[in-house]
């Protein structure tokens, strides 16, 4: 993830949230965010319901963040990851420039459409078929 000033203001934090999707299986899915030794995490405790994990934010300002999605046990899982760079600390302020790229998924994440950020739907273990959508600010 890269946070930058898209004209809305300099980024101060990256907010992330995760929602598990079908299939409803035993593992639970978490996301960790790392930048410069600072880290946070959030877990969706219930698989397949409408509720996402708690929203968390990492105050890492502008630049690249590492974002990891993992699960607690064996078995294929799907998830929706929502990411948004914000101009304020702790996920406050306005949305600002947010870009995402994939590494160990094996499949490049498609370029995001030109509106504002960001979530992506993916599966763990199978790790195939990323798609992306954006959330209006």
């Amino acid at each position: 993830m890269t946070c930058s000033d898209d004209g809305s203001g300099a980024p101060a934090s990256l907010a992330v949230q995760l929602r598990q999707q079908s299939p409803v299986a035993a593992p639970i899915v978490s996301v960790q965010v790392l930048k410069g030794g600072l880290a946070t995490n959030t877990t969706d405790p219930v698989n397949g319901d409408a509720n996402a994990s708690p929203l968390v934010a990492l105050n890492g300002s502008s630049g690249s963040y590492n974002v990891f999605v993992d699960k607690s046990d064996a078995g294929t899982e799907s998830y929706e990851l929502m990411v948004q760079c914000k101009t304020g600390s702790n996920g406050s302020g306005a949305d600002t420039g947010t870009a995402i790229s994939g590494t160990s998924t094996g499949t490049p994440i498609p370029a995001l459409p030109p509106s504002v950020v960001a979530g992506l739907v993916a599966s763990l273990l199978a790790l195939a078929g990323f798609s992306a959508w954006r959330r209006s600010p």
């Binding site: 639970i28 978490s30 960790q32 790392l34 030794g37 600072l38 880290a39 946070t40 995490n41 959030t42 877990t43 405790p45 708690p54 968390v56 590492n66 990891f68 993992d70 699960k71 607690s72 046990d73 590494t103 160990s104």
Partner: protein, 144 residues
């Protein structure tokens, strides 16, 4: 099969008391509490490193959230979660084939509630946790 055997051997070695490379830690009550470390794999004369082995054991009572570890270097990641809090069994042993250099290691938990853990980390000369033990050093980053 050879890889499975080698990993099993490594697990035995780890279980056999390579305690110099264990890190005790705790996570605060906030669900987002995360500890970060940097583990450096280097050639201590045993050979250049190919992989970092990781394992975590949740040492708090069974009512506590689960504890996991995530290892990362370049585009290589792996994670492992201790499925049962407070018992004598650690999480599955996992590895990150990152070569020599600095690995980011995060310890996290799956919900609110304070937790304690023991992190085990070892650099090995072979991929997928094979080979022999080589230079391993850790520095704590964030402590939540």
């Amino acid at each position: 099969m050879r890889g499975v055997f080698a990993l099993a051997v490594a697990a035995v070695v780890l279980a056999g008391g390579a305690s110099a490379h264990t890190q005790l830690g705790s996570l605060g009550a906030a669900a987002s509490a995360t500890d970060s470390y940097q583990v450096t794999c280097s050639d201590d004369g045993s050979g250049p490193p190919k992989t970092l082995l990781l394992q975590v054991q949740d040492t708090t009572s069974a009512s506590a959230p689960l504890v996991g570890v995530e290892g990362h270097r370049a585009s290589q990641n792996s994670n492992s979660v201790d499925a049962t809090s407070g018992d004598s069994n650690p999480s599955p042993l996992v590895y990150v084939n990152g070569g020599s250099g600095v690995f980011d290691v995060l310890v996290y938990k799956t919900g609110a509630g304070a937790d304690s853990y023991t992190l085990t980390y070892h650099c090995y000369t072979g991929v997928n946790g094979t080979g022999i033990h080589t230079g391993t050093a850790i520095v704590r980053g964030q402590n939540q």
